[in-house]
C-alpha cells in the first residue's frame, strides 16, 4: 500500500511535468500573445514549484523562513491567477462593448463584496489571516467566473470553448481551494498532510482540463464587430422594459384574481 507521502510526491512530480508541458503547449501554439496573463500565471506557477522544491530541501520544515517563502509565493500565485481570470473574462466578452462594460462593473463589485464578506466571516486570528485572505480571493474568483457564465447565458453569447474550459478549470480549482482552506482552518494540525495531497490532486485535475482545452488551437480572439448605433438601444430598451413591466403587472393582477385591464 502506497503511503500518503509517496502518493503526494508522485502527484507533485506529475503536476510539475504537466505544468511544464502546458507552458510548452502555450508557447508552441503561439498563444502567449492571445493569453499573456495565463502564460505568466503558468510560468510563475512553474517557478513556484521549483522554489518550493529547493526550499524544502535546503531549509528546515519548521523554519519561519520557509513559512514566509511558501505563503509569500502562494499570495503571488493567487494574485497572478486572479489576473489570468480577469483576462479570460475580457476575452470572452470584449467583442460586445456594451455588455462588457456592464459586466466589468458587476464583476468588480462582486469581487469586492465577496472579498470583504469572506474575510469578515473568517475566524479573526493572526495565524489564520493568510488562510482567510487566500480563501477570500479563491471564492471571489469562483463567484466571478460563475457570474461571467451567467452573463454569457443571459445574453446567449456563445463562449469560445477553449476559453470557457480554461475558466471552468480555474473555477473548479478555486472551489476546491475554498473547501480545503475552510477544513484546514478547523483541523489545522491533523489535516495538514492530507490537505497538501488533496491540493496537489485537485490542481492535477485542473491542469488536465487546461491541457485538454489548449490542445486545440485558440481561434482569433477579440475581433471588433460592427455595432449598432447607440440610439437603437436608447430608443428600444425603455420601450421593451415598459412592456415587460406591464406584463408583470398583469400577471400580478391575475394572481390577485383581477380580470385583465383594458
Amino acid at each position: 500500500m502506497v503511503d500518503l507521502a509517496t502518493a503526494q510526491r508522485v502527484c507533485w512530480s506529475l503536476s510539475i511535468s504537466l505544468r511544464a508541458l502546458l507552458l510548452g503547449l502555450v508557447l508552441w501554439r503561439r498563444n502567449v500573445r492571445s493569453i499573456p496573463f495565463f502564460s505568466i500565471y503558468l510560468s510563475v506557477n512553474l517557478l513556484n514549484a521549483f522554489v518550493l522544491a529547493v526550499s524544502y530541501r535546503v531549509l528546515d520544515p519548521q523554519s519561519p523562513v520557509l513559512f514566509r517563502i511558501v505563503w509569500g509565493w502562494q499570495v503571488l500565485v493567487t494574485c497572478v491567477r486572479a489576473l489570468a481570470v480577469a483576462e479570460i473574462c475580457r476575452l470572452l466578452l470584449a467583442g460586445y462593448r456594451g455588455i462588457w462594460s456592464l459586466a466589468r462593473r458587476v464583476l468588480l463589485s462582486c469581487t469586492v463584496l465577496v472579498l470583504v464578506y469572506a474575510f469578515l466571516v473568517s475566524d479573526h486570528q493572526w495565524n489564520s489571516a493568510i488562510l482567510a485572505g487566500n480563501r477570500a480571493v479563491e471564492l471571489s474568483i469562483a463567484v466571478v467566473i460563475v457570474a461571467l457564465l451567467v452573463f454569457l447565458r443571459h445574453y446567449q453569447v456563445v463562449a469560445e470553448p477553449t476559453l470557457r474550459n480554461l475558466a471552468i478549470g480555474f473555477f473548479l480549482f478555486s472551489c476546491f481551494e475554498v473547501l480545503n482552506y475552510t477544513i484546514l482552518e478547523h483541523w489545522l494540525k491533523p489535516y495538514a498532510p492530507f490537505w497538501n495531497f488533496l491540493e496537489v490532486l485537485s490542481y492535477l485535475a485542473c491542469l488536465l482540463i487546461w491541457t485538454w482545452a489548449l490542445c486545440k488551437p485558440l481561434p482569433q480572439l477579440a475581433t471588433d464587430p460592427t455595432l449598432l448605433p447607440g440610439s437603437v438601444y436608447q430608443q428600444l430598451s425603455p420601450e421593451i422594459n415598459l412592456r415587460l413591466r406591464q406584463l408583470n403587472e398583469r400577471l400580478s393582477d391575475f394572481w390577485r384574481g383581477k380580470g385583465p385591464r383594458s
Binding site: 467583442g95 460586445y96 462593448r97 456594451g98 455588455i99 462594460s101 456592464l102 462593473r105 458587476v106 466571516v121 473568517s122 475566524d123 480563501r135 471564492l139 469562483a142 463567484v143 467566473i145 460563475v146 457564465l149 447565458r153 445574453y155 446567449q156 453569447v157 456563445v158 471552468i168 473555477f171 472551489c175 475554498v178 473547501l179 475552510t182 477544513i183 478547523h186 475581433t223 464587430p225 460592427t226 455595432l227 449598432l228 447607440g230 437603437v232 438601444y233 430608443q235 428600444l236 430598451s237 425603455p238 420601450e239 421593451i240 422594459n241 412592456r243 415587460l244 413591466r245 406591464q246 406584463l247 408583470n248 398583469r250 400577471l251 393582477d253 391575475f254 394572481w255 380580470g259 385583465p260
Partner: protein
C-alpha cells in the same frame, strides 16, 4: 460544525449548481428561428388561437361527455385538452422569449447599455418565468383554467404587437443587427 464551515460549503455547493445550470444546453425553441424577415412582416401570434383554446378548456363539454358518454371517455378528453392547453402555453412563452431575445441581441450589439435597464429586464424575465411555471403547474393540477390563461394571452399578444410596431419603425437597423449577429464571422451571438 460552525457557521464558517457551513457557510463556505453552502456557497461552494450553490456555485457548482449555478455552473451546471450555465453549462447546460439552451432549451430547444420548438422550431422557431429569429428570422430577419419577421421584423418587417409581423406574423399572427399564438394568441390568435385563444378562442380555440377557450373551447378546449370549456368545462361544459367535459360535463356533457361525462353525462352522456362513459367517465373514461371524459377523462381521456380532459387529458387531451390539457395537453393542448399546455402546448399553447408553451407557444405563448416562445412568443415572449422571442421578444426578449430581440432585446438581448440589441443589447449585445450596442456600444453602451444601461445597467438599470438591463437589471430590470433580467428581473422581469425572471418573474415571468416563475409565473409561467406556476401557471403550468396550475394547469397540470387542474386548478387553473380559462380566465387566467386569457389574461396571460392578452398581455403577450399586446406586447408582441407593440414590440413589432416599434421594431418596424427601426426595421432597417434591427435587420442589420440580425444580419450581423447571424453572419459566420460574427459567430459570438447565437440567435438561431
Amino acid at each position: 460544525m460552525n457557521f464558517t464551515l457551513i457557510f463556505f460549503v453552502s456557497v461552494v455547493v450553490a456555485l457548482l449548481i449555478l455552473l451546471v445550470w450555465t453549462l447546460r444546453k439552451p432549451e430547444p425553441r420548438n422550431g422557431w428561428k429569429f428570422e430577419a424577415g419577421s421584423l418587417e412582416q409581423p406574423r399572427p401570434r399564438h394568441a390568435t388561437y385563444l378562442s380555440l383554446i377557450r373551447q378546449a378548456l370549456s368545462p361544459a363539454d367535459i360535463e356533457f361527455l361525462a353525462a352522456r358518454g362513459s367517465p373514461g371517455l371524459a377523462r381521456r378528453v380532459r387529458k387531451e385538452r390539457r395537453r393542448v392547453a399546455l402546448s399553447y402555453l408553451n407557444e405563448l412563452r416562445n412568443d415572449f422569449q422571442r421578444l426578449l431575445r430581440l432585446a438581448q441581441v440589441i443589447a449585445s450589439l450596442s456600444p453602451e447599455v444601461g445597467a438599470a435597464q438591463e437589471w430590470e429586464r433580467f428581473r422581469l424575465s425572471f418573474r415571468f418565468s416563475c409565473r409561467y411555471q406556476i401557471v403550468r403547474a396550475g394547469l397540470y393540477s387542474g386548478l387553473l383554467v380559462l380566465p387566467q390563461l386569457s389574461s396571460l394571452s392578452q398581455v403577450v399578444s399586446e406586447l408582441a404587437f407593440r414590440m413589432e410596431t416599434a421594431m418596424k419603425e427601426l426595421g432597417e437597423r434591427a435587420l442589420l443587427a440580425a444580419k450581423l449577429a447571424s453572419s459566420p464571422d460574427r459567430s459570438g451571438v447565437d440567435i438561431a
